[in-house]
Symmetry: C2
Subunit: 339 residues, 2 copies
């Protein structure tokens, strides 16, 4: 049987309230009793049962973290960042994956998690949350932070997709003198994809290149869809292909390879995300880096902030983290890839 607070109280010859005070440093307590209690506690390795503490204090010191399928180093960084900050603050991380094959079932899962009272707050990375879900989420009155999706009225952490895509496009225009740049999008409703497309368009506009809709191909963030888009890009005379993520860029490169078209020399291919492997492929991929680790840290900080000032009605925060252009060789540059 595990030692309980009553056991300690009995042994010390005091009431459980006194033991509680000694342990938590709340209220008055005499020096000598405190010392005696603490000794007994150490001696018997007594640790208060979280289950009881949670119920009594009405909080769990646990934050839920919902992420899409964790394969790839992409999300690992986020988890790491979250856990780092939470653990520093004595909080725990309850992890839940979001398999993309059945989004509905998964939403049920995290909604039920929220209602269970098992967590004090939740960080949600759910690409393409619908407003109906958001509404349900808001009903549970626990703090929520969304990642990578611009949910109005809630705390959100975003990366600056727009600027990233802008810089990338401008790089292709100014450094490599491209004028026919194809863009492969992600899923239609993806916030990331939309913003990146917007950045691409804006860069064209600012550099007096007319936007040509035929150069925009619809993809869905998979390698396969990148492959499939190549034909269309070439047909419309693209001299550069900007894929909305690295995954698709990889598909593009493999397809071009198959067609014996030299990437970097004959055609430029660039991506977005700076996936871990992007520097290792041939040619090393020019892409846009996303600060995944920072996203995790900021998300955790934001949620803790919200918890610690729940009474004060602060307006929702919208934190946009900046992206960084990573120039390697697939765009035609001849860098020493020290990145």
């Amino acid at each position: 049987m595990k030692t309980t607070i009553d056991d300690i109280a009995k042994m010390a010859g005091v009431s459980k309230s006194t033991v509680s005070r000694a342990l938590n440093g709340t209220g008055y307590i005499s020096k000598d009793k405190k010392k005696k209690i603490l000794e007994l506690v150490k001696l018997h390795n007594y640790v208060p049962d979280s289950k009881a503490v949670n119920l009594s204090k009405k909080k769990t010191m646990t934050i839920g973290l919902v992420l899409p399928s964790v394969t790839g180093p992409f999300y690992g960084e986020v988890i790491q960042g979250v856990e780092e900050v939470l653990s520093e603050n004595k909080y725990f991380t309850l992890f839940m994956t979001f398999e993309s094959n059945s989004p509905e079932k998964n939403r049920e899962r995290y909604l039920s998690l929220m209602s269970s009272g098992r967590i004090d707050g939740i960080i949600i990375f759910d690409p393409q949350v619908d407003s109906q879900t958001v509404e349900k989420v808001t009903k549970f009155e626990i703090p929520v932070v969304y990642l990578g999706e611009d949910v109005h009225g809630s705390d959100v952490i975003l990366v600056d997709n727009f600027s990233g895509a802008y810089s990338m496009t401008e790089h292709l225009i100014k450094i490599h003198k491209h004028e026919r740049i194809a863009f492969i999008t992600g899923p239609a409703k993806s916030f990331d994809s939309v913003e990146r497309l917007r950045g691409y368009k804006f860069a064209l506009e600012n550099n007096d290149i007319e936007f040509d809709p035929s150069l925009v191909c619809r993809g869905d963030f998979t390698k396969e869809s990148g492959k499939n888009a190549v034909e269309n890009c070439l047909k419309n005379g693209a001299t550069a292909i900007f894929a909305a993520n690295d995954e698709m860029a990889l598909g593009v490169i493999e397809e071009l390879e198959r067609k014996r078209i030299k990437v970097g020399k004959e055609i430029a291919v660039v991506g977005f995300d700076d996936t871990f492997w992007s520097r290792y492929i041939q040619p090393p991929l020019t892409t846009v880096h996303q600060p995944m680790h920072s996203i995790g840290k900021m998300a955790a900080k934001t949620i803790l902030d919200r918890i610690n000032s729940k009474d004060l009605v602060k307006s929702p925060m919208r934190i946009v983290l900046s992206t960084r252009l990573i120039v390697r060789n697939s765009c035609g540059c001849e860098t020493d890839s020290t990145n």
Copy 2:
């Protein structure tokens, strides 16, 4: 204020015991009352508070998962596997990272997690746990599964490092006719490293090649240590280099590249782990695949098994998952890398 079981009871005009029975399907209850209660529950979105349920039932339906730094896709797969199985069984995953820079502090963390009563079981991936820690861990009487470390007397999930290294070495000997194969180890006490070295030695022996200690270089699983080992390997006339993990193999390849020595043609380099990027480097790395996803799933299954039959004293399980040789080009093979 959240709805409680008392609220529902009052509204239904019954006692809370009856509501509890209706919800849990335990004991006797009349059809009509059950129906009425369930309706009220749905109407008010009542969900029992886990904090209370946990205390009452003396379990949390939560399993702790302790992993080394999650960067790299390596561990993502494990998490995924664990979460998959646990969530299917209505369990939750409490995630904790193990930053390798301060192992002691981190051990404290998971030991304290175990004693807090916050979890019902724990899966620990702690490279180089010392026996002292194992002893402490055993004292908390909750189920434990160790990953990747052959802890005697406990449930462990391992991969067949020995056979993997054996197959790899034999591949180099039989297919590529190498006789001077260098081996770069990991940290001295690493179980993985030791087993791989053993497999390497055994393959040499079985193929009548004398083991030459000067061909074994000490590394520590970092890319840097791979780089540093190259000089020594070459000096001793190695025609092939077998690094105990992909990370080091990458270091070796980069160093050889720098020296203008063609990997695959002039010298063979192979790794171990089949890290996500290993197929993307130049040349694609021949390596040994570890079933990380299966490891996660098996770990979760094992711990649940243990929980559900705690009374029955089953002898500790030692599950060894098989590895698979992945032949790409860095060994000199000219495969179409469809892997």
